[in-house]
């Protein structure tokens, strides 16, 4: 039994008819860390979670959670995990308390303990006022919080969050992120699937990018960004009339095509001295700018370049 990794999968394959949802996926997540599983719709993220949550069996390969094999020891695995996601859902016809009470009872808590646990979780997720209302009448953010609460009734050591913020407004999204950070601080291992690079960037220590059921990149957010290479310089003139002149100045340091969109000039640069050179150049020509920035590629750009390469 190998417990170096909280989640460890090797060569997972899952086919549905002619579709290969997982085509040899390897994953390794150390205890107490967050792995972001990133990919477009249909990449196989949810299938991977369903295999790791014992909901479906892989056609090939194997996976262990907390050292327990997902196929041979599903009951033990279920005792360790919590699942929140697009598909695992709360019962819309029960109210908040009843949903959590049901799970507490199913997990073997006494009636009294289950009640106390439900009340504590509802308070923690700021759902106490909505405790008596049917979950079907909750807003998207409240529902997601109840979903999270439901997956935490059993104090799982490993938590799967399958697109936990899809469809949420920015405020609710931030709330979910805060909750996840709190859980990780308490030692929970999290596997997070997401289509939002921003989300993986903020929460995950390590990111696995999958597409068409295959892992196409692995690394920390910084490593993935470095893979895309060039940084981008962005200049916004104070006077829109000088857009052309500024474009010329940028072109002198750029390593690729200069893009002039609206009132902003952007171009890829790679020389570390490019920014200083550009500032001197602008100064010599008496050009003033409202905004001047150099930034690493966003994960979105990394993602597009990675997934673009394959298709």
């Amino acid at each position: 039994m190998d417990t170096t990794y909280a989640i460890h999968a090797e060569g997972l394959v899952k086919r549905f008819g002619d579709t290969t949802a997982l085509d040899g996926v390897d994953l390794a997540v150390r205890p107490g860390t967050v792995l972001g599983l990133l990919g477009p719709n249909g990449a196989g993220k949810t299938t991977a979670v369903r295999v790791l949550a014992t909901l479906i069996r892989p056609d090939a390969g194997h996976a262990a959670v907390g050292g327990f094999d997902v196929v041979r020891q599903p009951h033990e695995v279920r005792g360790l995990i919590g699942l929140t996601g697009q598909y695992a859902s709360v019962d819309e016809t029960l109210n908040g308390t009843e949903n959590l009470l049901m799970i507490g009872r199913l997990l073997g808590l006494s009636r009294r303990a289950a009640r106390a646990r439900a009340a504590a979780l509802l308070a923690r997720f700021e759902l106490t006022d909505a405790a008596g209302r049917a979950a079907g009448k909750y807003s998207g953010g409240m529902r997601r919080r109840l979903d999270l609460a439901a997956s935490l009734v059993g104090d799982p050591r490993v938590l799967y969050l399958d697109e936990p913020t899809t469809g949420l407004d920015p405020r609710s999204r931030n709330e979910v992120w805060d909750i996840v950070r709190g859980l990780v601080a308490d030692g929970t291992t999290v596997l997070l699937t997401t289509q939002y690079l921003d989300e993986a960037d903020r929460l995950a220590g390590e990111i696995v990018v999958i597409d068409h059921g295959r892992v196409i990149a692995t690394g920390t957010p910084a490593q993935l960004k470095a893979r895309a290479g060039a940084q981008t310089v962005t200049v916004r003139p104070s006077d829109a009339g000088e857009l052309g002149l500024i474009g010329e100045a940028v072109a002198r340091v750029a390593i690729g095509p200069v893009d002039v969109t609206g009132e902003v000039v952007t171009a890829p640069v790679s020389d570390p001295g490019a920014l200083a050179k550009l500032v001197r150049d602008l100064d010599e020509h008496g050009l003033t700018v409202a905004e001047l920035a150099l930034r690493s590629p966003s994960l979105d750009e990394v993602f597009l370049s990675l997934t673009g390469e394959r298709s």
Binding site: L83, L94, L107
Partner: protein, 253 residues
């Protein structure tokens, strides 16, 4: 393991019953609709079919109970399919619980709802003038037979629930099947009044058989024959549909 299975089943049965609180429509299904049917049949058709509504009630009440019972078996399938399509089943299956408890819990809860609907119809029937001509033992036997039959027949809707993609389809399938089965029977009228070819179907129809058995146990008359045939039908439903459903259940989830 078995204690856990029983506990899990009880919890999930509780959950199904608590749902009624938040979904008044379900209460309609199990209470208002049977009452409405009873009143409509008794007072609209009763006088035309028998001499008086009261006389018709004596004949039709067991039939109405059986019809209601068969339609109510659809709820098991609709509920299961809803749980699967809404993701509730995935949540349940990610928990360390007895594997078949979600199915068992649903069935237990639905048998309880069936008992309630039968008691309600019988109670209202008595208030409207239905007479029980037999003893408490026969009444209990009638209850047991009806519930056992409902349990067995509900496996049909479980199987459909495992095979179709949406709860509405369980409903549609059930209605298409159950309207002819419940109406071309001895539930509401004597099959002797039907054309021969229809009567042949009505005579062997499980609705007829079960309604005759309930009639015998509540109002007197032949019991052994219809009860035996009812039990055979129930056993048939159970033997055919329960294994198929369990197999489909394993595959689907």
């Amino acid at each position: 393991m078995t204690t856990m299975a029983l506990r899990n089943t009880a919890t999930l049965a509780w959950r199904t019953l608590v749902q009624i609180k938040h979904n008044p429509f379900e209460l309609f299904d199990f209470s208002v609709q049977p009452i409405m049917f009873l009143l409509l049949f008794t007072y609209v058709f009763g006088g035309a079919i028998a001499d008086t509504p009261g006389e018709y009630l004596t004949y039709a009440l067991p039939g109405i109970i059986v019809q209601n019972l068969l339609f109510a078996t659809l709820n098991t399938g609709v509920g299961l399919n809803t749980d699967i399509s809404k993701g509730v089943f995935d949540r349940l299956r990610s928990l360390p619980i007895a594997r078949f408890s979600p199915l068992a819990g649903r069935i237990v809860a639905d048998v309880i709802k069936q008992a309630w609907a039968i008691a309600l119809l019988l109670g209202l029937g008595l208030a409207l003038g239905f007479r029980i001509e037999t003893g408490p033992a026969e009444v209990l036997a009638a209850f047991a037979l009806l519930l056992g039959f409902a349990f067995a027949a509900s496996w049909m809707s479980v199987l459909v629930a495992m095979l179709v993609s949406e709860p509405e389809k369980v409903q549609i399938f059930g209605f298409v099947l159950l309207f002819p089965i419940t109406f071309v029977s001895g539930a509401f009228v004597d099959p002797d009044t039907m054309p021969d070819w229809l009567r042949a179907f009505a005579d062997v129809n499980p609705t007829t058989v079960l309604a005759d058995a309930a009639r015998g146990l509540l109002s007197g008359g032949p019991v052994a024959g219809p009860v035996t045939r009812s039990l055979l039908w129930a056993a048939g439903f159970l033997l055919v549909f329960a294994p198929l459903s369990v197999r489909a259940f394993r595959r689907r989830i």
